[in-house]
Symmetry: C2
Subunit: 344 residues, 2 copies
């Protein structure tokens, strides 16, 4: 067993972990490990938004950015997912990950121009980018043998880690928590640049991508996941999407991952923007919608034990103000971080 915080990111603590040094988690979990020379990663979400069937321009944009993801200064990994939002719009979100900011910067300018530079009737477009220092994010995986999201670009997975299976583990896995409360600073504001709307959020904005993969489950487990767990998860995701603002959740998308052929896979993830890590912690620990998710997952795991084939993972980032970029064009006002300023 090892600490979720890698040796080269350990610092003299001014803040304590929530568990004693002899704490042993009741089941194993794993975290992504970068090479020590990786100091910063980039997580870039490119969204398209439209009603009904995809307009021609949307399809060509998806092809264009896929080509860019394969070209010069390309990301180390990307994936694509789909969901229908609260206003009834389809959203297709392509997420790409870099572990070299210079490479991303060289890549980004023309890609951004192609994505939000021109408008098209009936198609909203958005770009949401974080470029956190590695001390500002953490990952967690139920199995070490299938990376997802930012973990795909890491060197590999850790051994079993200590800081999980208790409330507060998420915070304790973020290296910056050794010395920083990570309190939010300020409020999101809107900046207009012609047809482009940019949101300038605030220090210590929090992003979670939390994923589920039921592709390996067989009959009985699959039925249990789809009938007992997924509906409860969906209810919580819907709450965050529709009513999250009151508890500090600016926006939530519950996405279905698409295969290379555009067909939905047996993977999903929730992606949400939060005012603070503390707000995310409070919801996860005590809100009835997440307590039900937790209860359903506990019942599931205690029924199946180590035989469970369901895979769970997440990545959580607490970004400094200068590590964020949000740009929207022709989107409805409840799209992503626009929702944070629309209601301010």
């Amino acid at each position: 067993m090892e600490s979720a915080i890698p040796a080269h990111l350990k610092t003299a603590r001014s803040r304590h972990r929530r568990v004693p040094d002899d704490y042993h988690p009741p089941y194993p979990s794993f975290v992504a490990r970068h090479k020590p020379d990786v100091t910063r990663v980039v997580m870039a979400y490119f969204g398209l938004q439209y009603r009904g069937q995809a307009p021609a321009g949307a399809s060509s944009s998806l092809g264009d950015i896929a080509a860019r993801f394969a070209g010069a200064h390309a990301p180390s990994h990307w994936d694509r997912a789909h969901y229908v939002d609260q206003a009834g719009f389809s959203n297709v979100v392509s997420v790409a990950y870099w572990d070299d900011v210079a490479k991303f910067d060289a890549w980004f300018a023309p890609a951004r121009e192609a994505w939000t530079g021109d408008g098209e009737e009936g198609v909203g477009r958005y770009i949401e980018v974080l470029r956190p220092a590695v001390a500002r994010y953490e990952t967690l995986f139920s199995s070490p043998d299938r990376a997802e999201g930012v973990a795909v670009i890491a060197e590999g997975m850790s051994d079993e880690v200590q800081e999980h299976a208790y409330w507060g583990g998420m915070r304790d896995r973020i290296p910056l928590s050794q010395t920083d409360e990570m309190a939010p600073g300020g409020n999101p504001t809107l900046r207009r640049d012609g047809a482009r709307l940019r949101v300038v959020a605030h220090d210590n904005l929090c992003l979670i991508r939390s994923g589920q993969d039921w592709s390996d489950t067989e009959a009985a487990e699959r039925k249990l996941y789809l009938e007992e767990v997924e509906p409860v998860l969906r209810e919580g995701m819907d709450f965050l999407r529709d009513d999250g603002r009151g508890i500090g959740c600016y926006a939530n998308r519950y996405m279905r991952v698409l295969g290379a052929d555009g067909v939905p896979t047996e993977k999903s993830y929730g992606q949400s923007w939060w005012r603070s890590l503390a707000a995310l912690e409070r919801w996860a620990e005590s809100h009835p919608t997440h307590v039900r998710i937790f209860g359903a997952a506990m019942k599931y795991l205690s029924t199946l034990g180590p035989a469970a084939k369901l895979r769970l993972y997440h990545e959580v980032t607490v970004a400094a103000a200068g590590e964020q970029f949000f740009e929207y064009r022709d989107c409805h006002p409840r799209t992503g971080m626009l929702a944070a300023v629309a209601a301010t």
Copy 2:
């Protein structure tokens, strides 16, 4: 809203609270407030143990100690409760509270001698006493207008407090948590003194008394409590009683409070001894038995809202080694802290 830690017990922190300063709990709770000149309290549990009907000596002991509780240097409050333990023995436990250690010391010696000085066929007797400094315990009440346990001897109740309704609130309400992890030190050992067995536990042993009062509930709420919540609570209490050792719970009693006439009231409490506050935290937060209790309680409270007439409270102490006294005579080996040494 105010801090659960009273002003005169605030110290310069070396350890942080788990919530930010602007945290607002989602519902009100209250804590007991002593006068500032109270530096220490005494919680003294006197148990009788027998099979079947109470032997004559047991009944006369109950009358004798009740008389002592009303005599010179008497406690400020006491109550009595009953349960049948895992070995099938009836246990009647009388609990008394003082806020003046000198008074307790003057009272205790003859009472102890009367309780465990002589044996009697078929009757086990035990005394479990903590005398914690006020920085070493906390209370929590769902309503401010009916004190129970140690809170009855306090001057009154606080206004709404901030440190509750999140995992870690229990720790944050204990004043010592400002500067101390409260890690357990050493292992319990047994000392024989003739027929008296004394257990010497260890630094930072933890005691919780957690109570329920459904006497004010009316038909629908009463049915909901007794049919939906109580069975789940009982299941968790049984787990701690029978299998708690593996997770750091030395002993648990799920007691029914008795009226002055010896008749069971509509109040109950769980009383358990823990290796550490951390072990109690881990069980409460993540063990399936308590997650189910929490889920049942959440569902109950969200169904009833502020109309709920059920009253809940607890008191939690983390006692220094020198603040403890455990003595057993003619008890079976799974009685109270005897269970901690029997299995060592």
